[in-house]
Structures are given as C-alpha cells and as structure tokens.
Amino acid sequence: MMATDLPAAKPKLQWMTATVREVIDETPRVRSLVLDIPDWPGHKAGQHVDVRLTSDDGYQAQRSYSIASSPDAPHVMLTVERLLDGEVSSYLAGDVIAGDQFEMRGPVGGYFVWTTALGGPVFLVGGGSGVVPLMAMLRHRAAAKSNVPTTLLYSSRTAEDIIYRAELDRLSGQGDGFTLAHTLTRGQPDGWSGLKRRIDRAMLQSVGFAPELKPRIFVCGPTPLVESAARELLDLGHAAQLIKTERFGPTGR
C-alpha cells in the first residue's frame, strides 16, 4: 500500500455521557449495565469501549470493556466482572444503580469482530467473562436471523458463574444452527449433563468444527485459557489466520 492510499485521519473519538438505565445481576460477581448514550454511533459485535469514571474531587480512572449487546439492540450493554481490588470494576459491577452516569468512548477495535457478512462456520471459545464479546456476536447472529453454523464452547467455574445462562439456552433451542456446550471446571450441580473439565484438545476437537471446514474461531478469556486453546487449535490443524484471540486479565482490562 502506498502512502497516498492512507485514509484521512479520523475525527477524535469523543467522550460521551452514558446513563445507566438498568442493572442486571448476571452472577454473584457479574453485572450487566444497560445504558442510554444519546450520541452512540453504533458498533460491531466484538468491539470494546473505554469507560472513564470521575469522582466528585475530580479523580479519574479509565478501563476498557467489551460490548455485550448486539449492534441491532436499542441500547448498549456492558457486562462487567467484579475483580479483586478492581478500581473500576468494583464500582461498575458493585455500586452502580440506575440513573448513575459515567463517560464512554468508542467503539474501538476492528479485528476481534464478527458480522453476518463474514459467514462461517463460527467457533466461539469463551472462559468466564470472556464470553461477553462472543455474546454480542451471538445476539447479532440471532437479530439478523442468520443460520450460519455456530458453536459456543463456554467454560465457567461453577454453574452459578455461567453468565447469560437462560438466554444462551433459549438461543440454542431455536434450531437455527447454533450449538451450545458448557463446561464447568470447579464442581458441577447434581444431574449436570455438560462437560466437566478445563478446555482441552479433545474437547476442542469434539465440540468444534473440523479444520477442513475453515471455521472462523474467536477465543476470549483469561490468558492461560486463551494461550492453551489457541495452541491446541493450531495443533488440530486450524490456520493461525482464522484464530482470533482476546485476553481478559485481572489488570489487562
């Protein structure tokens, strides 16, 4: 590409005021915030935003969060896990009530993104709150009435840590080509029929699509899960270019 092909510099992404419309308890440590943002420019499933909090003495703190809502939804939703000693997450997933305000800037990121135009099959691999951008993709898929074969392999610690459980059950029951596989790594309830171990190669092979089908793969979760899943997927024969990763560290976010 020549320098003359460079796109003109974009206008600066402005900070916008978000007002909390609704707070949804997803799990004991995870909350979703449904937001009113008057100037929201729209987003793609998988993108993130920067959130900035301002205290009454002017102190500010800023972090990035994935967008949980479909681009087709009327309101932007963030889903935030309360981290130990999390300066921003303990506020967003703890103290916030409807009517509270903070600043948001975005959407950002053009890589860890899925649109129906990209097609499939699509293999989503998520751990913990790493399911959030994957959920935006699933919600977008459902809103667009897409039949693209799609599988979510979702690892949680215990059944009560599963985020969006009821909605995922509903989406997977629609017979539109979406398959859901849960695995629980730290104990399972009585009668649990799902998987019961950390994500490993055998699981990625049996739950996911064959490499010959060239699935688009999105992996999001804590670093150890992402590192190991991406390595196993390569070993199974999936092309590195089709494996997109996003890591959620306690401090990286």
Binding site: R52, Y59, Q60, E87, V88, G110, A230, A240, R247
Partner: protein
C-alpha cells in the same frame, strides 16, 4: 469542553501518591498482562532469523547465535499499554537498533519510516528516529531471563516511549521505508504514532 459527569459514589484509589511517571488515563500494575491478536507462535530458534531491509533490499540477516553475539544493551524503563496499564522499571536486554545499523555499516537509517514484521503476520509502524539513539532495541531477555513466548519471545521490539503495541512481539524483520505504512493495530482503529503522554490511543486522538 464540558465538565465530565460525576460518577456518583465513585472514589477509586485517588490521585494521592500517583506517580508522575504514569501517563494520563493509565494505572499501575505489578504483574505483566498479556494481549495479542492470535495464537502465540512456537519458538523455533534453529530456524529463527532476524533481517534488516531497506525497502525490498536485504541489508543484513542474523541467526539466533549471530544475533546474540552482537553487542548487547540493557534498558530499565517504564512501559504503557493502550489498555490502560503501566508497569514501572521493567528490565530488558537485547540489541539496539543503532547496533544493527552499525553491523551493516550504516551510520544513518536508510529511510525515515519503519515497518516491523512478526511471526503470525503482525506488523507495526514506527518512525525510524524513534528507534535510534538507544531509544529502542530488539529484546531477547526480560528481568534477566529469556523472554517468554507469550510476552514475545524469543525476540520482540522494545520501544518504551510509545504505547506497548508498538513493541511488537515475535519480531523477525525490520524494514526501512520511504513512506509510512500503517501496521496491524494502526489499520484497526489505533493511533498511527501512539504517544502515551499525549494519550494517542486511537485514530484521531
């Protein structure tokens, strides 16, 4: 600009004691978070090569052993990730870009812009002058140990005065160019230069 809205009840850690070494919008961490766009490549030192190019013309190529035989530099610096974490006093060892130029008999960069190419197809762009005079290196050690693959081992660029995505992991090729070509994140909404002190996070900042 209008005053930002107060987030009711938010205290945070407060700015008391916040180091003047932390750029705007950043916060300190003590661990070392990992962020990359795809799988971590398996290191293969036997076939590892580092090449320096002027456009399409090769200037020099080093095997792992040859690269490690070059004069080594040590830097202790603060690093700043665009995802808002900063880490102070990180210690790196490797080969400065000045040393690489010297090794191929050049006293000046052959072009004003650089595109770094990495295993996995990742690229990033940096002005050549930001890599010179000891400001940058190709790092092979962190805190006295071989660099972990998930942190970019065997070798990554280190250009600590820019946001850390510019310090490309798994770097293999440094290409001087006459005009600027945006790299991977720069094509995906991130700032073309990325100065943390001017908070140049995204395109247009």
């Amino acid at each position: 600009m209008a005053e930002p809205p107060i987030s009711r009840g938010f205290r945070g850690r407060g700015s008391g004691g916040k180091s003047t070494r932390v750029p705007p919008g950043q916060h300190l961490v003590t661990d070392f978070p990992v962020l990359s766009a795809g799988p971590t490549p398996e290191p293969d030192l036997a076939n590892w090569r580092f090449t320096l190019e002027d456009g399409e013309t090769p200037l020099g190529e080093w095997s792992w052993q040859q690269f490690n035989a070059l004069s080594q530099t040590e830097l202790t610096v603060d690093i700043h990730c665009v995802t808002t974490w900063s880490k102070l006093d990180t210690n790196w060892r490797g080969v400065s870009i000045d040393t690489l130029l010297e090794a191929v008999g050049l006293s000046e960069p052959p072009g004003p812009f650089v595109l770094l190419h990495c295993d996995g197809g990742y690229t990033t762009n940096v002005p050549a002058e930001d890599l010179l005079d000891g400001k940058a290196m190709v790092a092979t050690q962190f805190d006295g140990e071989a660099l972990d693959p998930e942190h970019g081992g065997p070798a990554r660029l280190l250009v600590p005065h820019l946001y850390f995505w510019k310090s490309a992991k798994w770097v293999r090729r440094l290409q001087f160019l006459d005009s600027e070509i945006p790299g991977f994140w720069e094509e995906n909404g991130y700032h073309i230069y990325g100065d943390p002190w001017r908070e140049q996070r995204y395109d247009g900042d």
